[in-house]
């Protein structure tokens, strides 16, 4: 029999054995998914969240009394709604994954709520602040540990009025994140007679803002309110200086990151921003989390929402230990969470799965660092915003 026949018979044989070997099941490990922006402009926050979730998993795996072995499946949504839906579908369609710690970007979280509901995968949002993610639907699968824009903008408006600023111009990106911040800031401001002279919606990856800024310069506001994430904030702050504009730059939780300060350099001096929850070191479990995080020496900092990702992962593991790795049981148990102790304080989910965080922290940039307003020299009168 010539060589070709023998080789092809061997080929068919090996192909068939591969075909059947692939069907074996692997051992009993419970998979939890983490979804966040691991690449792109806001990847610092995403990577900090992933490392914190991974830390929670490894700590629980080392603990002796844990019933199951846990594994983290981390996926990158690039902070883009379309990529977010793709990876969410991939995770939700995977039978081994029983729960998820999902999303830093509000735009992506909004896009994926339907996917989690369709595949009834219980998830906890760890960083996105748009209220509609939980209040905009009555899906039992969606929960959130961090606070929302409503109280963030209420505190921001009262504080800025107390610093007797009265005239604002608003630039916000046209995603749900930017529009949400603008909407709730406008509501909060109308209660305390602040006036918004003009509003400009911009595309998050727009390069050139000189046109919008020139129009704002004509309106001559005291403060420029920016609703959006760090990359866009960097470009706007830098191009403000190009047009000789010295207004106060007031941002949102989206720019509370080192990436913003590195991008803008010393122009960041005196920039204001507001964020839910206290700074990590002031949180109840803050010290323990910071030390454990340093011990693992990840090459990225935990960033603003790392603690929330850690708390969300721990909550899911506690629930799985109690009811076992089944999506429906986990979902029902999560809905009934009351006063669950976590490093970000007690977690209680209301009927929409929302955990209410009252504490909002005011930040100002002083010498290239985000400093809590109360401890800054601006509060003590040594420096002035204007």
């Amino acid at each position: 029999m010539c060589k070709a026949q023998r080789l092809s018979r061997f080929w068919i044989l090996s192909f068939l054995c591969l075909f059947f070997s692939g069907c074996g099941e692997d051992s009993e490990t419970v998979k939890i998914t983490f979804i966040g922006p691991l690449t792109g402009g806001v990847s610092a926050g995403g990577l900090g969240g992933r490392n914190s979730a991974d830390l929670a998993i490894s700590l629980r795996n080392q603990a002796p009394d844990t019933k199951y072995k846990y594994e983290l499946v981390s996926l990158d949504d690039e902070c883009k709604p379309n990529i977010g839906v793709q990876v969410a579908t991939k995770a939700a369609a995977n039978k081994d994954i029983v729960a998820g710690v999902t999303h830093y970007c509000s735009a992506v979280a909004m896009g994926t709520v339907d996917v989690y509901h369709k595949f009834n995968l219980p998830v906890i949002v760890w960083g996105a602040v748009l209220p509609d993610i939980t209040y905009g639907n009555d899906y039992l699968e969606i929960h959130r540990v961090n606070g929302t824009m409503i109280n963030q903008n209420t505190v921001a408006a009262e504080f800025m009025r107390s610093q007797n600023f009265s005239k604002w111009a608003v630039i916000h990106d046209t995603t749900d994140y930017g529009k949400g911040h603008f909407k709730y800031f406008q509501i909060a401001l109308s209660k305390s007679e602040g006036t918004i002279l003009g509003t400009f919606g911009v595309n998050p990856d727009q390069q050139d803002f000189t046109a919008e800024l020139t129009k704002i310069k004509a309106l001559n506001p005291e403060v420029i309110y920016f609703g959006g994430l760090a990359p866009t904030g960097v470009r706007i702050r830098a191009q403000m200086d190009k047009l000789g504009m010295t207004q106060v730059f007031q941002g949102t939780s989206g720019i509370v990151s080192d990436a913003f300060i590195d991008g803008v350099g010393d122009l960041s001096e005196g920039v204001l921003a507001f964020r839910e929850g206290a700074p990590t070191e002031k949180l109840p479990g803050g010290k323990m989390f910071m030390e454990a995080y340093e011990a693992r020496n990840f090459n990225e900092p935990a960033e603003a929402y790392g603690a929330f990702a850690f708390a969300a992962t721990n909550l899911i593991i506690d629930v799985i230990e109690q009811v076992g790795p089944d999506r429906r049981l986990i979902r029902d148990e999560l809905n009934a969470t009351q006063g669950h102790q976590s490093i970000v304080g007690p977690v209680t989910f209301d009927d929409h799965g929302q955990n209410t965080i009252a504490v909002i922290t005011k930040y100002v940039v002083q010498d290239g660092e985000w400093v809590v307003w109360e401890d800054s020299e601006y509060a003590s009168g040594k420096r002035f915003l204007k």
Binding site: K80, P81, V85, T89, N203
Partner: protein, 383 residues
């Protein structure tokens, strides 16, 4: 070759390809896919050595209708085999839809020679039309909405046709690229269409059957993607049939003539612009249909998923397969959609790798993997 023998050869060919496709879609671990990636080309080499491939091609030319039916049934078997694998079905449906758009591109680029770098924009127009029509016109049956989405894509395409007709090759390329950017920027800026946030799209509902919930148990149960896979298969099969019929008729003949030499064709009464318009609008119509089904299946669309790199991906499918060869888009679409999903390491370098592959093809084998054969009007002797 007796009819029975031909049918046997064709069925064997389909069975073999279904097994290979099942292997690629079902197996999860990367080393398994790696082994498959080595085995399949080796297998093809053996088949070529034992000139089984020419044997199959000859059989396919003898009974084109039977080949078409057997292949469609083969894919139905594949869908049934995978009915519980949600993500595998999602990938298979995406392949079928991308192949349909590539058929549209084959008609535009392969037949009439009209270059189109905005294929994903017309795919997007179909998706957004489905999203809007589904939201505001609930009483219109979804089948009709899919049809309207295709028609809207074709009509919007007509807007572009005037500048394209009056310009030569590379100018038309620029116009289509500019249209792609214009379409995406317009979506991102305009709030009514959801801006960069995108839109939610409700699932399809046909013949009283809501695609939202899983496949009925009497038909074997399985994930809700099965219904979408079947719709996508019907769309691709019809699209393939229409493309083949156009090629094997005076319409395809005139399109080819206009592509090869517009002046000479004009001297023999062929109205160049008419055939370019027909090809361009028909291709965009295919893209619109596929976009509508894609939007309904995914449940969510955003401008960020319709940018130039996706259009280039579609162009690479047509180039990889072989310009103008309708059969070639199916294996090419499979390679370009499934491989990056299966190989995480490729996922990150996907666009880089496909860029390099297309450069190599253009440089050393411009006619692609399965070059287009001569026109065959009917089975058997006719050409």
């Amino acid at each position: 070759m007796s009819d029975l023998k031909t049918k046997l050869v064709l069925l064997l060919g389909v069975a073999l390809s279904v097994i290979v496709l099942y292997g690629f879609l079902y197996l999860e671990r990367e080393w398994e896919i790696g082994v498959l990636l080595v085995m399949v080309p080796l297998g093809v080499y053996f088949l070529k050595r034992a000139n089984a491939l020419t044997y199959y091609q000859h059989a396919a030319r003898e009974m084109p209708r039977f080949t078409w039916i057997s292949f469609a049934l083969g894919v139905v078997v594949l869908i049934m085999l995978l009915r519980h694998e949600d993500f595998a079905l999602l990938m298979l449906t995406t392949v079928l839809l991308y192949a349909t758009v590539s058929l549209g591109l084959t008609i535009q680029f392969g037949f009439a020679g009209v270059v189109n770098f905005a294929a994903i924009a017309f795919f997007g127009i179909g998706a957004y039309s489905m999203a809007i029509l589904n939201q505001h016109f609930l009483h219109i049956p979804d089948l009709l909405i899919i049809f309207f989405s295709g028609a809207i894509s074709a009509l919007l395409g007509a807007l572009l046709i005037l500048p394209i007709l009056r310009t030569r090759g590379h100018y038309a390329a620029l116009i289509t690229i500019a249209f792609g950017i214009l379409f995406r920027t317009f979506l991102e800026v305009n709030d009514v269409l959801g801006g960069p946030q995108g839109l939610r799209v409700s699932g399809l509902e046909m013949f009283g059957w809501d695609f939202g919930n899983s496949f009925p148990n009497e038909l074997g149960g399985g994930s809700f993607y099965v219904a979408y896979a079947i719709v996508a298969l019907v769309l691709l099969a019809t699209g393939y049939l229409i493309t083949r019929l156009i090629e094997a008729s005076w319409l395809g003949l005139n399109m080819d003539s206009v592509r090869l030499d517009e002046v000479a064709s004009a001297s023999f009464g062929i109205n160049g612009p008419r055939w370019k318009i027909t090809a361009f609008m028909l291709g965009n119509c295919f893209a619109g249909f596929a976009g509508a089904v894609y939007a309904a299946m995914y449940g969510f669309i955003a401008p960020a998923s319709f940018n130039l790199s996706d259009s280039l991906l579609l162009v690479s499918i047509v180039l990889l397969g072989g310009i103008g060869n309708p059969v070639a888009v199916i294996p090419a679409a499979f390679l370009i959609v499934v491989l990056p999903e299966k190989f995480q390491v490729i996922q990150e370098y996907r666009l880089l790798l496909f860029g390099i592959v297309v450069i190599l093809i253009l440089r050393f084998r411009p006619s692609g993997l399965m070059p287009r054969g001569l026109r065959q009007y009917f089975a058997g002797r006719f050409g």
